[in-house]
Amino acid sequence: MWKEELLEGCRLLLLDVSLQTLTYDVWQWLPDPSRGYSVRGVYAMLNAPEIPQVLHDVELIWQKQVPLKVSIFAWRLLRD
C-alpha cells in the first residue's frame, strides 16, 4: 500500500540522521563557520577576482619555448 511505501522511504532517509545532543540547532555562515558573518570577510569575498580560466589557459599554452604545433594541439584540445 502507498502509505507503507512512503513511510519506508521516509524512514530510509532518516537512517543516516543522528542528532547531536550537545549542540543547538544554529545558522552557520559557511565561509567562516566559527565566527559567522563579518563585513570585512564578505567584502573580500565579493571582490575576490574570479579566476579567469581562459586567460589562464592562454598564458599556459602560448609560450615561446613551446613548439607552435604543441601549442596549437593544446589549444584545440582545451576547446573541444
Binding site: S18, L19, L22, Y24, L30, L46
Partner: protein, 153 residues
C-alpha cells in the same frame, strides 16, 4: 584592486555596501531578539519567522536588504543564500515537517501524503526522534551525520 597593485585603496563602494547590508540579513537569522527586529516586524510584518518584503511600500534600504536576502535583482546574485546553512544539533528548534533540514526540500513537500495524515504538524525533530524513528527511539550519542540544509528565512 589592492593598494600594492597600484590602486588608491578606495573601497569598491557597491561591494562594500552589499557587505554592510548583508550583515542585516545575517542578523535576521541569529539576532532576532533586539528592538530593531521588532520594529521591522511592526513595519513590514512577519510570516513563519520571515520578514515580509514590503512590496512597493518598502524603503530603499529595505528593498536592497531584501534583494540580498532573497538573492534576486542586481545586488543579490544569490551569494547570501549560498553562504548560510541551518545546522541541526539536538533538533529542538527545527520543525520536522516544515523546515528544510535534510537537503533542499522539506519533508512536508517530499512526503505530502504522509504529512496530510500527521496529527502534530509542528513537531520538532527532537520530539519526533524521541517518539522513535531511531532504533528503540533513543536519542543518539552524537556520532554520525547530522542534518543540514536551508531552512526558510
Amino acid at each position: 584592486m589592492q593598494k600594492e597593485h597600484g590602486s588608491l585603496g578606495v573601497r569598491q563602494l557597491k561591494e562594500f555596501n552589499e557587505a554592510l547590508l548583508g550583515k542585516w540579513c545575517w542578523r535576521f537569522l541569529v539576532d532576532r531578539g533586539g528592538l530593531w527586529y521588532r520594529v521591522l516586524v511592526a513595519r513590514y510584518g512577519e510570516a513563519e519567522e520571515r520578514l515580509d518584503d514590503g512590496g512597493h511600500s518598502g524603503s530603499t534600504w529595505w528593498k536592497e536588504v531584501v534583494k540580498i536576502r532573497d538573492g534576486v535583482g542586481g545586488g543579490g546574485n544569490g551569494w547570501f543564500h549560498g553562504c548560510v546553512v541551518w545546522r541541526v544539533g539536538d533538533g529542538a528548534y527545527t520543525l520536522f515537517w516544515h523546515d528544510h533540514w535534510c537537503g533542499d526540500v522539506s519533508f512536508r513537500v517530499c512526503f505530502s501524503r504522509l504529512f496530510d495524515l500527521v496529527v502534530n504538524k509542528l513537531i520538532t525533530i527532537k520530539d519526533m526522534f524521541l517518539q522513535g524513528w531511531g532504533e528503540g527511539g533513543r536519542l543518539g550519542s552524537g556520532v554520525g551525520g547530522c542534518g543540514c540544509g536551508r531552512r526558510s528565512y
